[in-house]
Homo-oligomer: 216 residues x 2
């Protein structure tokens, strides 16, 4: 037991070193040697905690995701579900220095999940968790009038929007700023809300809906 508790800070320092390298220089710059140098320990020590690079990256991604989750959980659910959704979305957007750093790290791991089974597993877990929470938020906001399938789709759209906006903000220099990030997010949230109101009022003129079956 003693060993576990005294090992925790060392392991956390290594994970922190990995996150620092990913954020500043990119995921491809992570190696046992670089992490050892950044954390001020020997290569053997890094290998003791993380026998493979894959496990090292998985531990770092898990930690990155834990931090984002903690921030989301700290949000108080107020009486206004629409406002709550805005608050959630803002936590996912790179609107200050801390969130820019987090987004850079998160997106590096998220993209790498395309070719890593262990990262993909973490990725799918965090997406599922967020998707469930947002589906519930839409269900609360829209009440019984909204079919669950519509809430699920809206949640998919909102998470994708947040990740896409974050990607564009952290991979360009000033191409899209904080005001545009939040305004674009609000435009979509407003539109989803209007779409649901429209759907729930059969008297309204039909929305232009395309038949997708024939499309490429």
């Amino acid at each position: 037991m003693k060993q576990v508790s005294s090992d925790k800070p060392r392991e956390a320092a290594l994970t922190e070193a990995v996150l620092g390298i990913v954020g500043e220089r990119g995921l491809d710059q992570v190696s046992v040697r670089e992490v050892a140098t950044a954390a001020g320990v020997s290569i053997g020590t890094v290998q003791h905690y993380f026998p493979t690079k894959e496990r090292m990256l998985a531990a770092a991604y898990t930690e990155a995701v834990r931090r984002i989750r903690a921030r989301l959980q700290a949000l108080r659910v107020g009486p206004d579900p629409r406002r709550h959704m805005t608050l959630v979305l803002r936590q996912l957007l790179p609107l200050d220095e801390r969130r820019v750093a987090e987004s850079r790290v998160y997106l590096a791991f998220a993209a790498a999940a395309a070719t890593s089974a262990s990262l993909a597993e973490i990725q799918q877990e965090v997406l599922t968790e967020l998707h469930t929470a947002l589906t519930d938020a839409f269900a609360t906001a829209w009440g019984d009038a909204a079919p669950r399938a519509r809430c699920r789709l809206a949640a998919h759209a909102v998470i994708a929007l947040a990740d896409g906006l974050a990607l564009h903000a952290v991979t360009t220099s000033g191409w899209i700023g904080g005001r545009q990030l939040t305004a674009a997010a609000e435009l979509v949230l407003d539109g989803l809300q209007l779409g649901q109101l429209h759907e729930a009022q059969p008297g309204q003129p039909a929305v232009h809906v395309l038949d997708n079956a024939e499309l490429p």
Copy 2:
């Protein structure tokens, strides 16, 4: 002149090898050695065409983007702007094997642009191009009633949505399928359309708009 024309196929083969490695194993697996092996040439030959890894990656990203652009340009602009927007969005989503492969490669480079100035430059160029085209498409769809700023925001939202949905599709195994990708995209396009209709008809009840100034 002769040399340029005979060099082109060799350079294209090397770029192809880079794209293959990125798509199958990830950007961090690209090295001069791996590319030489994949293309069946010597390390010296790779270095002759691409003196640095950075230039090799930039050339490969440029080629990846060129293919997506070519597919978008092949779309015929029909008389229905809303339908055109759906078609553009569908070209950006990983809806078939070819587009899945393209999305994997595009997203790997896009994420790496966070820590690479040369990739960021290409990234910003392609985003700007797409953003301008989509802003024009919204302006055509919405006519004089829509302020340019709203068209620009809607374009930001749509590109972000496409990139976010693609990211989720290629980094999870079946968490989000083709039907959900297109349905989520349509939900947002419908919402943006309704938002604009709503905006253009002042008689409608006010949309719930939040005052963002006070938010974190």
